[in-house]
């Protein structure tokens, strides 16, 4: 990852009045072009097709679906997340490029909803990743989804929607909750701490006792080797 380290990171601009105009323009463009990754975890996903197609047409707001986490800006969590799904959601979230936004659709993401007593679902989504916006309802209508997205657009335009920084600044908190759920050996392929250092987003809560635990058992990341077919003899986890 040596090449990543060489990219200079501009953290603040001062003096130049044109820089302000430029930043404003960039913020406007960001709010007007949102690629969503709909990770359809629960029943709420069924309200997205009408919001995208001819009846409500998200594209007139500049919102369009994308298929891979790398390309997306918004992660839509549409309903309850089971513990197994949550692992994938976190991997997906960490692979997205910042600025990234998470929207929790449905009451189940707010407080567990009707799955409150279930042993297998994660109750509050914002314990595991920073959530920008909740759209409550069981399930919310497409109008509500669009209203929520417009609210997010306003927040992006005014520069308030930067909760993605929170994941770097308070990584210890989020990691702690994840470890509570998935066990102490939990590790994701994305090295958040190194990224936080690189992008100068180390906060008071980035390092703590949970990240220490992670460092104890962390396996260094290796590139996957490319080959066709599977070696069946290899032990799988």
């Amino acid at each position: 990852m040596s090449s990543i380290k060489q990219i200079p990171v501009i953290t603040e601009r001062k003096g130049n009045p044109l820089a302000r105009v430029f930043d404003e323009f960039v913020r406007f463009c960001r709010s007007r072009s949102l690629f969503i990754l709909h990770y359809c975890t629960g029943c709420g996903a069924i309200e997205l097709p009408p919001a995208m197609t001819s009846r409500f047409d998200m594209e007139r707001l500049g919102i369009q679906p994308m298929v891979s986490p790398r390309q997306a800006d918004i992660l839509l969590i549409t309903g309850y997340v089971s513990i197994k799904t949550l692992k994938r959601v976190i991997l997906t979230y960490e692979q997205m490029g910042s600025p990234k936004y998470v929207i929790g659709i449905c009451s189940c993401t707010v407080n567990g909803g009707m799955y409150w007593q279930s042993y297998a679902t994660a109750k509050k989504l914002d314990e595991y990743m920073p959530v920008d916006l909740y759209i409550a309802g069981c399930m919310p209508r497409p109008e509500a989804v669009l209203a929520g997205l417009q609210k997010l657009m306003d927040r992006i335009h005014s520069g308030e929607a930067n909760s993605w920084e929170d994941y770097f600044r308070n990584y210890d908190y989020y990691l702690g909750n994840q470890q509570k759920l998935f066990g102490e050996n939990w590790q994701t392929p994305t090295d958040i701490i190194t990224e936080a250092k690189h992008y100068d987003l180390i906060g008071e809560g980035t390092l703590g006792k949970h990240t220490q635990l992670l460092e104890q058992h962390q396996k260094p990341l290796e590139a996957l080797d490319m080959r066709l077919g599977h070696d069946l003899k290899e032990p799988t986890e």
Partner: protein, 299 residues
Amino acid sequence: MMAPMELIIELILMPLVAFVVGMMMVLMMRRIAAKLQRRIGPPFFQPLYDIVKLHSKQTQISHGLIHDIGIVMAMGGYIAAETLLPVPGMTGIAEKGGIITLLYLMMIPSLGLALGVGQCANPNGSIGIARALTAMLAYDIPLVIVIFGVAYAAGTTNLVDIIAVQQAGGFETWGAVQMPVLAIAGLIAMHASLGKQPFEIYIAPAEIATGPMVEMSGKYLGGLFVMQCFQLYTTSVLYVSLFLGGGTTWFDFLLKSFLVLAIPVSIAYLFPRYRTEDLLRLMWKWPVMLGLIGVAFVL
């Protein structure tokens, strides 16, 4: 012979014009798709918003040097190709380059993508790029036959002369009127080279997660969006220069290019997608056959 200063200005202006026109073509494509699906469609500046947004991402995830170079090649190939495509009032280096150089330059982007995607080590990307190169093999054969036919009929491989020959006698000397069979074959090959729906084998979002683009984020994806603008422009302007007599004024030049592009795009959103081998079979059968018949008429 033109002054070197003038030439340099043209070389800078031509890709810029291509970029702006290309963005409008992307907009037109998305609007047509929206109209066919009874939606409203994106606002006027949407392609610009997308590109600015992608380039202003705060974390740029690079997979290494070759990844960076691949994207530069993908864009650079088309930028070089624009300087070989004459537009009204500007010819750039079209007279010296000729149509064969142009054909080679139009292949560079696919190869650049192949390099860049290779380093991402994503299986979806590799499948996508394998399909993209197969598709290139499929549509390049009819395209080369068509271009050979046109060049033979005009007696030159110089695009400026080909346009001049067509403009000499008004509407009747247009390539599409003189060689209608070749024009149809060219249209099919052009549709395939755009990678739009029935031939959309290498993007295939529902199957291989947009293939070559799967690991691209931020400015890398932004680069590919810019590349798409150039791709639409290059393909339609090449067709206009070969068959519709180029353009004498900017107005009829742009009108022709947009109309030509509207044909494959309107067809595209009505169809699902072929499989790779179906694409090969289809491409090597119909457009090649039509192209050969057309060439036989010309000879």
